[in-house]
Symmetry: C2
Subunit: 346 residues, 2 copies
Amino acid sequence: MATPALDSRKHDVLETIVDCYNRTAEPVSSQKIVRDYDMGLSAATLRNTMADLEELGYLTHPHTSAGRIPTEQGYRVYVDNLMTDQKLSRKEKQFIRDRYASARRDFEEIMEQTSKILSAISHHIGVVLSPELHQSILRRLELISIDSEHILAVLLMASGAVKNQVVSIPKDLPDEELYRINRILNEKLAGLPLKQIRQISQDPVKLRAVFDRPLSDPITVVTQNTFALEQEIHVYIDGTSNFFSQPEFGEVRKIESLFRVLEQKEQVADLLSARQEPLGIQVLIGSENGCEGMEMCSIVRSSYRVRGNQFGTIGVIGPTRMAYPRIVSIVKFTSQMISKLFEESL
Amino acid sequence: MATPALDSRKHDVLETIVDCYNRTAEPVSSQKIVRDYDMGLSAATLRNTMADLEELGYLTHPHTSAGRIPTEQGYRVYVDNLMTDQKLSRKEKQFIRDRYASARRDFEEIMEQTSKILSAISHHIGVVLSPELHQSILRRLELISIDSEHILAVLLMASGAVKNQVVSIPKDLPDEELYRINRILNEKLAGLPLKQIRQISQDPVKLRAVFDRPLSDPITVVTQNTFALEQEIHVYIDGTSNFFSQPEFGEVRKIESLFRVLEQKEQVADLLSARQEPLGIQVLIGSENGCEGMEMCSIVRSSYRVRGNQFGTIGVIGPTRMAYPRIVSIVKFTSQMISKLFEESL
DNA sequence: CGTTAGCATTCTTAAAATTAGAGTGCTAAA
DNA sequence: TTTAGCACTCTAATTTTAAGAATGCTAACG
């Protein structure tokens, strides 16, 4: 590992400072530690150690006569090596289960509820990204006539997700023909991942191979139009106003940049989506998220599994000074819950 | 009218002050008026008139040595009697049309786009309430099997709105039976307003009359479960971060209460919905909206017509100090646009 | 040699004092 | 009735002052 190993004392002191700062939001002084934590060290000794930790880049000074606060690097070490797991209490787990129990009716409701749960229990912002549809398997497809030139295609995915799509059709397609097309599409395409279906629908050769029809045939036209959909990920956000109670966001201009980002769903999706490392928890500390306007925020995210190799993401966005052990546990547990939910319910 | 009629000078002065304050967000002094507006009156005269207007309750003082700002009552008079229409420019109208042109694909997209248009052009918050479903006419119903105990009911409304609903069904209903039920439901219920269908579905007597089946029959069970849906209005909000650039919201605590309300979609829906007066523009000034935390905001709202007697609402939420004539024009024009859109597209 | 007490130093923050200026209300004259 | 002039009030910005918090360093201690 690139970071030099810390001796046991530095280890303890850094952990204590992070912990203390997370709770008070104020720079931590040597005296504060002596008073509040029983470390068996004098203030002077702590000052020496703190100076060392600052030397190493894990702490800073806002100014000379102020206590220390962790740097992003300090948080990094804390999250990677120092912090101790903090399991959720029985009560909290029960809270989460109860919330799901009251809401497991349909896919969208689960998504919404999850973001609400995350924000309610973390007191930060809860975010849920719906699973990427094109990894998802098509369970069933239904074509509903709207008018002479349009139909509504209802795509029911194995995950329970439903996608409605208005599709243009060749003019004056008789109803019986539409039924026939619908039946054939289900026969040929149900059970395949959307990704593969899309490949077929965009490739004239495969299209002919699958349906054994000329390209002008209505069935190929409908297929093309139905599956021309671009990837569309829904973003569910809740708890944004929790940020107002964070003391470090006491000025409008600090909170403004954050909210401008949150209003752009695409940006939030980029921020959360963790395609490269599909499993497990990830913690992005401060500017690591690489998003302008979010330098003061950390993100704890985890993918969840819907079925087979289909993934979505959930996460919590909070101030860099967040209670990492707790938030990590929350995100971990919730992502397990949601994965389980999808497996048993289907 | 309860308010005493203003003589022509008071009329002009009040209008000028409202106008000036709306633009500068600063208390308006007599000198300011002399300098910026050519009213042919001296500062002293203006001061006298302003004192009169304060006496009448239309203006206030923040403190002795400050200019005047309008009271809510002052705004009320301004909006009701004083302000002159300010039509949208050709450019702005074109902007709106263009935005719709690029997005008229499906119902939900129109809703989303409308809130974006409203906020983009007003520089305030744009809100759209989807039409109340139960006024809406059912065009077509499709039942899609999910598993042995659940189906997905897809309700396609005449307006183009689509409502997906997971419905419990009697166990092991064979597919052919489901098709048959589906066909019968469409025969009997398509073309009726959802409200009426709901009445039928919840009333055993009517249910028997319509389907001529015993209450234990699968078809009645499915009908009951499908139409047991409570009224659900979708709320589309955009442009919340516009509030950060308003000088009167320079302190976090003022903006906080607003955002806490906006996060509660139900509250926003209540705020906007104008069931009592279904047609035309309404302006709620400051605390008139009766919503705690929104005393500093005004709302300009208008219902739009989807088809027949089916209504939704659009609106703009901004600071009490908003450019009423302009915002009113925007909301008026947009609600006409959206009404037209729904009529021609279907 | 690591640890600690003591202390001068530095810097922040809050409170108090000062000042400049903006706008009013009133009075008296046009 | 309108307007010029002016004393008065209050705000907001700036400076001054003071208090306090935490540090780093030095020297003593075990």
